[in-house]
Amino acid sequence: MIQDKDRKREVIVKRVAKELKDGDLVNLGIGMPTLVANYIPEGVDILLQSENGFVGLGPTPKPGEEDKDIVNAGAQPASHVTGAAYFDSGMSFAIIRGGHLDVTVLGALQVDQQGNLANWMIPGKMVPGMGGAMDLVVGAKKVIVAMEHTAKGEPKILKQCTLPLTAAGQVDMIVTEMGVLNVTPKGLVLTEIAPETELGEVIAMTEAEIIVADDLKVMEV
């Protein structure tokens, strides 16, 4: 399996980027999901949504070129692309909740085989709040969890989440440095396995029950 931290991230975000289709409106969560924007395939034209109030989020501005009135949802200096549009938080979440957002990519503390997601608090330890995550996961047409397969060696893909949920049964796909798992009515189906990775390793590092797809492929990254 892949051990190097940077290589893990690269594998995850490159694979997630391949899920995005021409014309998609996409919201990328803070942290690793943001990096997906660097690997959009040639010929695929997507619009990024920033839930603080615009579609058409552009690259991070160069030092000295920041506009104090343009930030991303993490309050980092941002830019907009040609054809972007600004709006208020009511419109922003109408887009998110109303079925107008094609894909949301977020990280997770835990995710389980029913498609439940926990990523907003650890009781007694860390309570940052849900921000827009609960709306994003409920509203987006496709919910992709992008995360490292384990945390300090402990599985994060579980039979049942133990942390407070962000949303119930909304996750469609999990992409990690070990493979791609799809949440289906039958359970969690491993459709792709990462390079340099053995099936036995994936099963050992996953607490949830895994159904291995008949046509299991090697992840293209």
Binding site: S50, E51, N52, G53, F54, D67, K68, D69, I70, V71, A73, G74, A75, A78, H80, Y86, F87, D88, S89, G90, S92, F93, I96, R97, N116, V127, P128, G129, M130, G131, G132, A133, M134, D135, V138, G139, P164, L165, T166, A167, A168, G169
Partner: protein, 214 residues
């Protein structure tokens, strides 16, 4: 009617124990001069409605640090460690609301609605104590309106009648907050004469605004 006032005059509307809605997203689009003036006046026991508690040295985060607030109704506190500390030591009540739900609750208050039905929060701790309503086979939570005594708004360009234009990502919650308070005070980054903002570019109509400060 002259709505243009000094910051001192505007502060006469703000009293201890009030519920105050403040525009801004992590401090961007927040009226910093009004925030500082509330601290200088030493207003206590504010219930704050805002997207987040910003940063310890920015936006409403400064109210948390200076203990002007006793309760916050927000979607996110992760960027202000002082909010978490005061929550854990029970000095501050923190009511976390999903961001889209917060926006709709404020909008409902401003639009005369008795609440909104949202799928957000179903199957999570957010649904505790709330009425669940099934519409066409799908469950929704009834979320109630959220109204403030005073709203503090930041406008990029404000005319002397109170029409507001917000630049780029500063709009966020400002338009919503401006509809949902008894008294709306806008801090103008740039104050212009009536007519200088094209009526089609007005994002908050002047009728919502009571006081304009520079």
């Amino acid at each position: 009617m002259n709505k243009t006032k000094s910051i001192d005059q505007a502060l006469e509307y703000i009293k201890d124990g009030m519920t105050i809605a403040v525009g801004g997203f992590l401090g961007v689009g927040t009226p910093e001069k009004l925030i500082d003036a509330v601290i200088a006046k030493g207003v206590k026991d504010i219930t704050l409605i805002c997207n987040d508690t910003a940063f310890p040295d920015k936006g409403v985060g400064k109210w948390v640090v200076n203990k002007n607030v006793s309760k916050v109704i927000v979607s996110h506190i992760g960027t202000n460690p002082e909010t978490g500390r005061q929550m854990n030591s029970k000095e501050l009540i923190v009511d976390l609301v999903p961001q889209g739900t917060l926006a709709e609750r404020v909008r409902a208050a401003g639009a005369g609605l008795g609440g909104v039905l949202t799928p957000t929060g179903i199957g999570t701790v957010i649904e505790e104590g709330k009425q669940k309503i099934n519409v066409d086979g799908k469950d929704y939570l009834l979320e109630l309106p959220l109204k403030a005594d005073v709203a503090l708004i930041k406008g990029s360009i404000v005319d002397k009648k109170g029409n507001i234009y917000y630049n780029k990502s500063t709009r966020n919650f400002n338009t919503l907050m401006a509809t949902a308070a008894e008294t709306v005070i806008v801090e103008a980054e740039k104050l212009v004469e009536i007519g200088e903002i094209d009526p089609s570019d007005v994002m908050t109509p002047s009728i919502f605004v009571n006081v304009i400060v520079e």
